[in-house]
Amino acid sequence: MSDEQKPGLRSPLRRKLLMGMAALPAISMLPRASFAEAPATSAVNTTGLAVTDSEVTVGILHSVTGTMAISETGSVEAEKLAIEQINAAGGVLGRKIKFIQEDGASDWPTFAEKAKKLLVNDKCAAVMGCWTSASRKAVLPVFEQYNGMLYYPTFYEGLEQSKNVIYTGQEATQQIIAGLDWVNKTKGAKTFYLLGSDYIWPRTSNKIARKHIEGHLAGAKIVGEEYFPLGHTQFNSVINKIKLTKPDVIYAIIVGGSNVAFYKQLKAAGIDLSKQTLLTISVTEDEIDGIGGENIAGAYACMKYFQSLDNPNNKAFVSAFKKMWGEKTVIGDVTQAAYLGPWLWKLTVEKAGSFDIDKVAAASPGVEFKGAPEGNVRIHENHHLWSKTRVGRAKADGQYELIYETADLVEPDPFPKGYQ
């Protein structure tokens, strides 16, 4: 029985349409297929990077041992997933991505050493890596000296910009200001209690938060600001202070093991997060896994991505991620930002038509990734990303429910005027 006998295909117009549709996937492959051969290596690689006719080498540099392994594991997983998907779709300029993974071991000098190894010995065309600001600061001079390209996934305090780094997470103003405006407008919040772990990111972020609260929110004030050593596990005293000052909003930037202790003790002390507004910028789905959903249910988080985001890109990303790394894994903001790294690099290389670092750096501004799980993102002149800011509310099952998102992409502003 041939197709012609099917009544549905009798109309010539319909047949043409169907043929056109069948050809659609082929059209999307055209740039690669029509030239048949990938561009010559000598043309796309003039500076001696590890690019062959069939392969290009990139580096992955995260801590898989030591304290930071808790956080960085997700980033490694996301980057490997992205690389696998890119390879399955034909690679970059016709070349498969091969990755070399190095372990920063939660130790900043080790990060610098491994970065040098990846750039000098392995001649990686790009490196996806680092998590803490301390590790990024340690590798930055290496990337600038040996002219490498780093894709850095974490939301961070800003105050930095480099030709050799693409920041795929939010800088502080993107993450903080929209959230404060939201809580001020919808909750009528006037009094804020700022908390943080004692190092650069929470302190800089709270400084921006303070400037914004005192300078831009009418009648709002800060009733307390406090920092705790990393690893602090006893929060009963500060919880009593919170009870005494009764702030409208607890603004918490506590990280690591302290996080778990803080939320468990907050709950034990009888502070009910369904009544007391708590806004955090440091708890992703990854952290909730350790804290326990029932201990943090009701808290609000302000970042750019939640696993529960309802769009086709994200659904495909989540199911691919779970297929590769197990049903139980959760995906936090940074994991998603890490996933953007290899894709943005691929798009930039294809835009530049070259793997050369200088050309990639120059081509970066304006590169758009429409397939990002968080929705469309675009690289800014300052090498940070335009992205939306979102507020989610934690549920007992460990996921966030999206409450609010900015209408437009928020401009990254790593050196905010009036906030320093």
Binding site: V64, T65, G66, T67, A69, I70, T73, G74, D198, E225, E226, Y227, F228, P229, G231, H232, T233, Q234, N236, S237, V238, I239, N240, K241, K243, L244, G256, G257, S258, N259, V260, A261, K264, Q265, K267, A268, A269, G270, D286, E287, I288, D289, G290, I291, G292, G293, E294, N295
Partner: protein, 308 residues
Amino acid sequence: MFGDYSLSDLGAIFAMQGFAGLILFSVYVLMALGLAIIFGQMGVINMAHGEFMILGAYVTWMTSSAFQQYLPSLFPGYFFLAMSLAFIASGALGMLVEWALIRHLYKRPLDTLLATWGLSLILQQAYRSVFGAREVGVELPEWMMGSWQATDAIQIPINGMFVMGLTVLITIVVAYVLFWSRWGRQVRAVVQNRVMAGAVGINTEKVDRYTFGLGCGIAGIAGSAFTMIGSTGPTAGQLYIVDTFLVVVFGGAASLVGTIASAFTISQAQSTMEFFLSGSMAKVLTLLAIVAILMVRPQGLFALKVRK
């Protein structure tokens, strides 16, 4: 800072603050007891103390998961079984470590520092390989969460009271075992004069092994209890180790009373200052005060009087 508040508000806050101090005190005693036995009685500097605690925490996590899956009806009571299992697991690992590692180093106490530090790194990586690098969340039975409403304004965390009760119980048991039981006498005899104790027929090797096992077992219980207030991850033990040594050294290494007294002093100082100053500042001042006191009294608050 108190001008704007009513008297009853302040009263309630101070009552809760008092409890916060007592809870911190219990936490310190609980984490230091095991180390006080090992460091105080045996002179072994056990840097892997935190990892023995975390073993207890992981055992608790496994028990909790098992109960949720197979015996959900008994879930409210699982914590008691979990603590016993934590004691057994950490104690057993402790005895194994003593046999394989520590007993060869009794004559070189400073080397135990290096050996146990290495052990702590090995254990951390072992946890990471077995349980994964991410933290695990231990689910608690409903009755252990939340707080007890003493009056309208005063709320006391239930898990805090649980830790307090547990600490009192374990301290009494340890004191009884060390000071009134036959085995405790043997331990103290070995501590005071190993050769002589051996000469009168005490099996010193066995005493050593059980003492080390007991110390590690108590660390396991502490770790199990701390799943209620802290995190459970491969490196979470590191959060406790500094405070633990602080308490033991400040109290006078060989004295149980000293450990308790020092835990009380440090916890009260810490929690009071944390209330009036900030968290980081309180820690700095506490440490400064301890350094100053140790300069004057290097042997700690309470020290055994021995002939030199």
